[in-house]
């Protein structure tokens, strides 16, 4: 790796300077009711002037939450932030800016129909009746030049490429002359342009900025930082000098030391293909290509796990299969019948269950009762309704059974709104609803995210039982343990393509971890 050696030389140069400008001590953050564990668990982190400190971790490890805490977007549940040794309380992003902390969000905080200059002018403390655009445009050109982040100030944000939008966002933050720059997953949108960004960041570090660089890619952590802190499930796994660590150590810190068991199972017996996807293409919400020719098939009684960092097309894949998103090309074949771009109703009838990614927004209707949500899909069929009338007693009996079988904690089936349930209980409810019929095919997206360890075990057991019973299961997960434990075959997704396919029983964890973490085939071959 070319980047490695460069960054090691650089880091030794900066080692002497160690004046800490931003420090967080014992930072805790919880989202009660949404997550069953603390999302940040007593994190210590510091950023020094003139260094790039990399924060490395899988998605869901809590990286963005730290960034939001340090920049004033979230209030801390516990802990203290220090700026240049002085304790500060950040109540809003404005406070952050005032203390010299600028954050570049992963989801860019830009008003899309506005030009770059207009977006910047928005945050300036000039009078409301002025129109400071000419000065802003000049200054943007100047900053562009200085940091080599070239951008046309007059371009509309919505017309810019992802990389350009990101540059605009960085310029917007630099406009306020921050001393600390926090970049949340800046390369997730611009894998092709990353080199360019790194150059700019390195030169900024040389100018004395403190930079907190967040990424899930080990390759980048080794390439750019002076120090790297690894985060796993809300806990800090320790900080290393970038020069004194390597891939193997980081992979271990990131994914854990233990080798999770590939769960015992009989080999897939059947040769019947239940779900087949051919050369599928689709667009994401922002009209960018999300799927670029995905093909695979799942046999009866087989679990196919999709590993990879989220945002590489997995969500869109699940949505296209279940009829929630249009395919622009390719075919979805269920039991030999073409179901491409059929509506969700047809696909439900074809026997495909869907455990959706957004469980509160899509998986349930929060203001409705638990009983109603249990029969959300089944209410249209006998015995839950007859001649378009709902059979309340059958629904009640069924809901009671599902709730108790799946161990969801529910106070009252017909009285409590589903919104008051914890995320875990909502997921139990959804899993119950989607699997009680022993469906032929299940599409499950991040099925155990945010659940506690016990609930995860139960869910895994459930999937194994369904597999025994002959269900074909597609699981999308960012948790490599989960993928390794469950999958008969493992597909690694990157940039809308399947970049690797492994046998579950023979899969090498390190190999897959590396493929995911380096975005290996994805970013390098596709561009």
């Amino acid at each position: 790796m070319r980047g490695c050696s460069i960054s090691k030389e650089e880091s030794s140069l900066v080692e002497g300077k160690s004046d800490t400008i931003l420090e967080g001590k014992g930072i805790c953050k919880g989202f009660p009711g949404v997550w069953e564990h603390l999302i940040l668990d007593h994190i210590d982190i510091d950023v020094r002037a003139g260094e790039i400190h990399t924060l490395l971790g899988e998605n869901g490890a809590g990286k963005t939450v730290i960034a939001n805490c340090l920049s004033g977007f979230y209030m801390l549940s516990e802990g203290q932030i220090y700026v240049k040794g002085k304790p500060v309380t950040l109540k809003s992003p404005r406070d952050g800016i005032r203390h010299g902390i600028g954050m570049v969000h992963q989801e860019l905080a830009l008003v899309k129909p506005f030009t770059v200059a207009e977006n910047i002018a928005l945050g300036l403390p000039t009078s409301d009746l002025t129109f400071p655009l000419p000065e802003v445009e000049d200054r943007v050109r100047e900053l562009s030049e200085k940091y080599k982040l070239y951008i046309d100030p007059l371009a509309r944000v919505e017309d810019l490429s992802a990389g350009e939008q990101q540059r605009a966002e960085i310029i917007k933050v630099l406009y306020h002359d921050p001393e600390i720059l926090i970049l949340d997953e800046p390369t997730s949108l611009i894998s092709a342009d990353a080199e360019h960004l790194f150059e700019a960041l390195n030169s900024m570090a040389e100018m004395g900025y403190g930079i907190l660089f967040i990424t899930h890619k080990i390759k980048e952590a080794l390439e750019i930082g002076n120090r790297v802190t690894v985060l796993r499930l809300g806990k800090s796994m320790g900080t290393r000098e970038t020069a004194k660590t390597d891939k193997t150590e980081l992979v271990k810190l990131m994914f854990g030391e233990h080798t999770p068991a590939h769960l015992e199972r009989k080999p897939v017996g059947s040769k019947r293909v239940v779900l087949e996807v051919r050369n599928l293409e689709a667009l994401a919400a922002d009209e960018e290509p999300a799927l670029q020719g995905v093909s695979f098939s799942i046999r009866e009684g087989e679990i196919l796990g999709f590993a990879g960092v989220s945002g590489n097309g997995q969500s869109e894949l699940a949505e296209v299969i279940t009829g929630l998103r249009r395919a622009t090309k390719g075919e979805v074949i269920i039991h030999g019948k073409d179901y491409t771009n059929h509506n969700p109703r047809d696909i439900i009838r074809a026997g495909v269950s869907h455990v959706p990614e957004k469980r509160r927004e899509v998986g349930v209707i929060e203001p409705m009762t638990v009983a109603e949500n249990v029969v959300l899909k089944d209410i249209r069929v006998s015995p839950f309704s007859k001649g378009s009338f709902v059979n309340i007693s059958r629904v009640t009996a069924h809901a009671k059974e599902i709730v108790s079988r799946f161990g969801a904690l529910v106070s009252d089936l017909w009285k409590s709104q589903t919104r008051i349930l914890s995320g875990g209980n909502i997921q139990r409810l959804i899993l119950g609803r989607e699997t009680w019929r022993m469906p032929k095919c299940i599409v499950a997206v991040y099925p155990t995210q945010g659940l506690d360890a016990k609930a995860i075990d139960h869910t895994w057991e459930l999937f194994m039982r369904l597999r025994e019973a002959g269900s074909s299961i597609l699981i999308v997960s960012e948790d490599l343990d989960e993928i390794m434990a469950l999958s008969d075959r493992i597909a690694v997704m990157s940039n809308g393509r399947i970049v690797g396919m492994f046998e579950g029983s023979k899969a090498n964890r390190e190999e897959i971890g590396l493929m995911i973490a380096t975005g290996a085939s994805g970013s390098e071959h596709s561009q």
């Binding site: 977007f73 800016i97 905080a109 899309k112 928005l122 945050g123």
Partner: protein, 299 residues
Amino acid sequence: MNLGYLWGIFLGSLHAMVPITLTATGEVIGESSGLFNIGLEGIILLGAMTGALGAEVGGPIFGLLVGVVTGFAIGLVFGLVCTYFKGVQLIAGVGINLFAAGLVTFWLIDLGVPGHHAVAEKGQMVDISTPLGDFSPMILVALGLPVLIYFLLYRTKLGLKIRAVGENPQAADVAGIKIHLLRWLSTAAGASLAGLAGAYISIDWMGSVTKEISAGRGFIALATVVFSGLNPLLVLLGGFIFGFFDNLAVWVATMPAVQKVIPWQFVAMAPYVVTLLVVAGVIGRVRFPAAMGIPYERE
């Protein structure tokens, strides 16, 4: 049919376009900031009432000002409910319409003559006399104001901020803009123009107040905003189109020849039919602020 006759229709259309243009221009400000006010109808009505009474006390200009203040005050109530209190905008708007309809009818009865109040001579606006015909100075205001608001929205930082809170309040929040305050004031400013429109109708155009004086113009203004795609300059065009059809009904009423062929009721439908067709035609091409109608809550 001679040229003078056509000119008369044109002038009539201009007079009819004033209230729609003013109200729609105001609503453009409000909707740009993300608030959708269906209470405009009621605000026009109340503005007509208070404006007329104000004009009888302090002359037509004072009356117009009273209309503006009335609109602003109601806009403040609506805005408060829909920003800080996170109220449902449609319901709040309906509440204002009901309230205004009740209060104005009540007020008219209280004045002694149920249902109708003629504005005293000294309160009425005097038209500008030109060789080409008499016209109200408010026409100039209605033609000028959209241009002014266009500059405010698209050529000042305040305008940038207003449009930003309607489009992406999260981004605006990051930029340190006080979302609720800005939305509140924007919708109130917009409502003040609806109040002005109401006062114009009673003091100037019609010369009287009735409990139905707004005649759906608040809603036609909403449709005009849809037509304009939130561009005040297009509000001018939309306002004229709707004003033309509004005026047409009045014009036809004076023409017995036409009346024999088409009953007046069908001509009276014209502005509403046209509105419906135009909205059905342009919708889909029009892009509204992404966050319109959604109360803002920081995560």
